[in-house]
Assembly symmetry: C2
Homo-oligomer: 214 residues x 2
């Protein structure tokens, strides 16, 4: 016997307009943000309208500001309000070490952690045969160009520990071999605060293999 | 022996500015929306900047529009772009049945479900001794005023099935007794699509008590 469908009856609930067109439009646009769906967008819009002066008006202004001033750094691919970005123009940073990341979000994560005192290079994605992403779709040509200037002595490959990320790391290692630049990657191991019992086998094996004198 | 703290080391990660002030300000404001925190706000902002022309610019305009046009209906408390709202001015709706809800979100949910063909009244909250919310903090005076006009023959109390919601329902029942108006409430029972095994005892008991001829 076939199991009965347990899903809720289709009510078309997310396309019925229940308020004015300007408000419905705001809900539809907010629902496109990652982390928000049609229902949470409705809740967010009600909150915004409730706090019109303290939240909705400043947010509208901040979005206009950001739309006007946000720039993609033409050197590294970071998102900032200046081009070149604040990191590329910061003279106190070590120009000899370049950290290569997949996305701007990864760069921001490393910056928040204060983990890197050199500069960055954002690829804008990873090589992926399935998604049809080849080397020309990524910011790799510009990376090789930067490395050819002779200023960079080491690149740190900070790709995600996924198959595509590691494929990309290998590809970049191949491309830069012969330029006399040291290539390193982030360490694999037990996350700080992590419990062994909950870790996957691959991470545990990597942590054991790369064990350090205590 | 005391258990070691398992939380991540405090890194102050959400207050370190890693990009331009206009973008940081947008992140800080977006993080105030319900359903978004500092991290998801960062992800959302990167998405917005990536899709500047198709998402960020229209969203800024939609927010400006909504800020300018959103109104609280002075009759029922609904949020719309006109006052009185589209529901209060809709002549095809039955003015004799008034559905009383806690919040505008509840009104919108009932509208999406197409569950009510009369008009609404939004209280703007519930009575709560703990939170110090009394009858004067809610839109109850206006409700009694609307009921006194004689047009309304029945009110449907559609409060949440919480202690505060039910307290509020009882209070309103007391206030309107003597006006000759029928007072009903939403049915309690098994949610459509729900499985008995996963329902709480109170709901099952209510569903059994209110059983209907089949």
């Amino acid at each position: 016997m076939q199991a009965a469908c347990r899903c809720r009856p289709a009510s078309g609930s997310d396309i019925v307009a229940v308020t004015g067109p300007e408000i419905e439009r705001l809900i539809a646009l907010l629902a496109k943000l990652p982390g928000l769906g049609p229902r949470s967008a409705r809740r967010a819009v009600l909150q915004l309208i409730k706090k019109k002066e303290t939240l909705l008006v400043p947010l509208a202004a901040a979005m206009g500001d950001a739309a006007e001033k946000a720039r993609i750094c033409s050197t590294c691919g970071n998102v900032d309000t200046q081009d070149p970005c604040a990191i590329c123009t910061d003279a106190t940073r070590d120009p000899a070490v370049l950290c290569v990341v997949e996305e701007v979000g990864d760069l921001w994560a490393l910056e928040r952690a204060g983990a890197h005192k050199g500069r960055y290079h954002v690829l804008g994605g990873v090589l992926s045969a399935l998604d049809g992403v080849g080397p020309d779709d990524l910011n790799i040509g510009k990376l090789v160009e930067r490395l050819s200037s002779g200023e960079v002595k080491e690149i740190v490959l900070a790709m995600n520990a996924t198959v595509d990320g590691q494929t990309t790391a290998h590809y970049i290692t191949d491309r830069v071999s012969g330029l006399g630049i040291a290539v390193s990657r982030l360490a694999h191991g037990v996350p700080v605060g992590g419990e062994l019992d909950y870790l996957d086998d691959g991470t545990l094996a990597a942590a054991m293999k790369s064990r350090r004198p205590f």
